[in-house]
Symmetry: C2
Subunit: 208 residues, 2 copies
């Protein structure tokens, strides 16, 4: 078994996905923290050694002399979970799980995570005009993503099949803190019940 180190910022939901996956699998993770607000993932050392894209999370996999780095939160979750029940055994369900993970990175994260970061951590007063101009479109797109999720969960407990998968973990990370970006959760009853279901999983860990 390899040793794993997560290069992360504890504020990041993308990093939290990997910690939650590892916790549910019972896999130990060493942690190396960075502060993205101080540009710590854009240093020449980070770009050369950890991720040329200047982003966290990165999962470091130490296979005994064979050191590798895997960026992109959902790819890191996939790596950790291969062979476990967090990835469905059925071929369609496996692809459908990836479908929700791509939805998360395309329709959900750029809207919900970005507004959370801008409003709760940067602060509205410190946004550029260009950022401020994007808020209305991100607000609409983020609420649309949450509405679609709530509708999908009307007749089901989990996003794919009948058990928790990486699709749930990926979507949970920024959904459960979406109110910090001023998104509405409370009246989306299916979504709230699903959030509670995840938080009740054995071995669940909370975000920092």
């Amino acid at each position: 078994m390899a040793d794993f180190t997560l290069h992360e910022d504890p504020l990041s939901g993308n990093c939290y996905k990997i910690k939650l996956t590892a916790a549910l699998l019972g896999v130990p993770l060493a942690i190396r923290q960075y502060d993205i607000r101080k540009g710590e993932t854009r240093t020449p050392e980070f770009l050369a050694e950890i991720n040329a894209n200047g982003r966290i999370p990165v999962l470091q996999i130490d296979g005994g002399g064979d050191l590798r780095f895997l960026p992109e939160s959902n790819a890191a979750c996939w790596y950790l979970a291969e062979g476990s029940a967090l990835i469905p055994g059925d071929r369609f369900d496996r692809a459908d799980m990836l479908r929700w993970m791509f939805f998360e990175q395309y329709n959900h994260e750029p809207n919900i995570a970005t507004l959370r970061y801008w409003l709760a951590f940067v602060g509205e007063a410190h946004l550029s005009d260009q950022q401020r101009a994007q808020i209305p479109a991100k607000r609409v797109a983020g609420e649309d993503a949450l509405a679609l999720m709530d509708e999908h969960l009307a007749a089901r407990e989990w996003f794919v099949g009948d058990a928790v998968t990486l699709a749930d973990i990926a979507l949970y990370a920024y959904t459960h803190v979406a109110e910090a970006g001023c998104f509405r959760l409370r009246d989306r009853r299916n979504l709230c019940a699903w959030l509670d279901r995840i938080a009740a999983l054995p071995a669940y860990v909370a975000m920092a």
Copy 2:
């Protein structure tokens, strides 16, 4: 073997990914065309039956009485390619392939595909102020994505391992038409050599 129907718009690089994957695999695909500029993927029928997210591509899988719909281009490519050489057999390489596919949907497509669509199909004169305000940031982020790809290809022929995978197909779709969004390709020599390598694959099909 199931019958496959692709719900698509021939202008879309996301749809083209699936057609290229199917062609390389020798899998026949029936085609059902929509015009996204006329809102044909936002009709009540489309939202109810094909994709509640109102987007194409959607891969329709007819398993003999069992009809299923799979949105998200990269998930559809995964479904078609499972068990083939387009998905690496090595665990790290498989996750690393997904890493580039998530990179494509997060860092590449929202910038390069969007500016291509706005500039080449909508037309600069018809953009809203809000769209126009986003052009500079999308320009920088798209050029950054192309630069990162060019650098990654400096010492390798394919994005992952030593053969073509879904990572190459996913990234090829909007890269090879990036000049339509006024992105620079010609002086990125590694990237151009890789584009030629893909176009030379047996069974390659061109975009419509």
